[in-house]
Amino acid sequence: MIRLDNVSWRRGKKESGPVLAHLSFAVPQGGFRWLLGPSGAGKSSLLSLLHLENLPTDGQMTILGKTVAQDEKRAALVRLRHRIGMVHQDYQLMPDLSVADNVALPLRLQNRPEDEIQDEVHAILKWVGLGERVDVPATRLSGGEQQRTAIARAIIHRPGLVLADEPTNALEESQACRLLDMFAELSAMGTTVIVATHNESLVRRLERPFLFLERGRLVEEGDAQA
């Protein structure tokens, strides 16, 4: 369950205007939301907030059932972040690591047994269609492969919430559709999914509720984008 009540966030000094202002919405567990809006509307900032990279300066935010205080302890944030998967616009893969090692990172950070990690990694890479690319260094992957690796890394630890920032940017239409199916599948399995995009054709293809941001404010919240 994700809930924001009148949440604002400003960068730096209080005199500067808020990047996000008075946001209120809720997403139930297993829900899917498109996050829409023009460039600079605050989509990435909202995802950063939900990923706990920033904390609200005003209002109350509940992530996966836990209310996050403005002075939340770092250890508590780390624990909560373990339950969130994030797919960044620029993938943020580790260039020195192979596909498998990149995907294994969240599990390694949770000190899971190595045998278990191997099984999980191979299963998830097969699911995203990278079963034959296990040992390939991340730098040698195509844009689509990097994107799928980033998604595999974001979901390998079975997070309760998956956030994706413009995940189809570098993808061809067919790859983007495959990606959408994956997100839909995740949502159907009970994971809350929020995907920021400005790809309207993609949104039309998967009709799901949406949040529309403009200048840091939520201007529209709808059931499905027609």
Partner: protein, 315 residues
């Protein structure tokens, strides 16, 4: 199934991120300096202890014209020599006092640095009497006066006077060594801090990604700290080993002042090095053995603090 991952693969690649060779070399230099300083401090402490202990209880008495009959200069028996008269006077010192007149060979050895191995019997040398008082005894206030009255020309030197000065000197050397060690530690801290900062700057994005994936502060700080601690240990060990040769040479030079002197003239032969090594005080050996661990701890602690402070910038 092959294992595509092994070891700690988290993308930090600290062996490439940190200036490994520089940190290792600089910590080795600091270790070298610290080892020499520790040796100096240990020597100063031993000297201080020695002078405040046994040497302060020593008296040295010189009797010129030692074998001349005392009667010729005073009213004593014609058969008593001046040195015998002094030895008789010294018999009244407290029980447990050791009185020893240096034999001609002992005297020759004492003068060897100035006279060489030439026959010194032709020289009018005074008799030298070494007196060692028991630990709790003090020199009678009237002894010097009584000796010079009874046997004119007798000179008495109380080592305690020199001992006080040498003890003050040794204490000031100890203080200097302490300051030098603090400086070396401070420099090692700064070097480690700079190396850590370089590593953090070059791995900024990767750390942010790891942080986003749920890496705790202690994980990231620990990864950096163990790397610098390993380098610090290696550097400290190398520096200490490098210092061993000059230390043995210095020890050999100081051997005449040591409690276990080396008597063989072929001092630099390997078999004597073994004997020389045996003369190294145990506290100095312990300090030298601890040096790599202290270097590792300084590196580990500095890096932990630096990385944790840096991570505070991240939410």
């Amino acid at each position: 199934m092959t294992r595509p991952f092994s070891g700690r693969k988290d993308g930090l690649s600290l062996s490439e991120a940190l200036p490994d060779r520089s940190l290792f070399a600089l910590v080795a230099m600091m270790g070298f300096l610290a080892a020499l300083t520790l040796a100096g401090a240990s020597g100063a402490r031993a000297l201080s202890a020695r002078w405040s202990g046994g040497a302060a209880q020593l008296l040295t008495i010189q009797v010129p014209d030692a074998n001349a009959p005392l009667a010729a200069q005073g009213g004593g028996s014609a058969t008593t020599t001046r040195v015998q008269a002094v030895l008789a006077d010294l018999a009244s010192l407290p029980d447990g006092t050791e009185v020893h007149q240096l034999t001609p060979p002992e005297l020759a050895r004492l003068l060897e640095p100035w006279l060489g191995e030439t026959d010194s019997s032709a020289l009018p040398l005074p008799a030298i009497i070494r007196v060692k008082l028991p630990p709790d005894a003090s020199v009678p206030a009237t002894l010097e006066q009584a000796l010079s009255t009874h046997v004119p020309g007798t000179i008495m030197e109380h080592n305690a006077r020199w001992g006080e000065r040498l003890r003050a000197l040794a204490n000031s050397l100890l203080a200097c060594a302490g300051l030098a060690l603090l400086s070396v530690g401070g420099i090692a801290t700064m070097i480690t801090g700079l190396a850590t900062r370089t590593g953090l700057a070059s791995r900024k994005d990767i750390i942010k990604t790891l942080h986003g994936l749920g890496a705790s502060d202690s994980y990231i700080a620990g990864r950096f700290a163990w790397r610098t601690a390993t380098l610090g240990f290696g550097g400290g060990l190398s520096g200490t080993l490098m210092a061993c040769l000059p230390l043995l040479l210095l020890l050999q030079m100081a051997a005449p002042f040591a409690s276990v002197p080396l008597t063989t003239p072929e001092r630099l032969l390997p078999q004597n090095w073994q004997a020389l090594a045996n003369t190294i005080p145990s506290d100095m050996l312990c300090a030298l053995a601890l040096l790599p661990f202290v270097a590792a701890f300084i590196c580990w602690f500095t890096t932990q603090v630096m990385v944790r402070l840096w991570l505070l910038r991240l939410p």
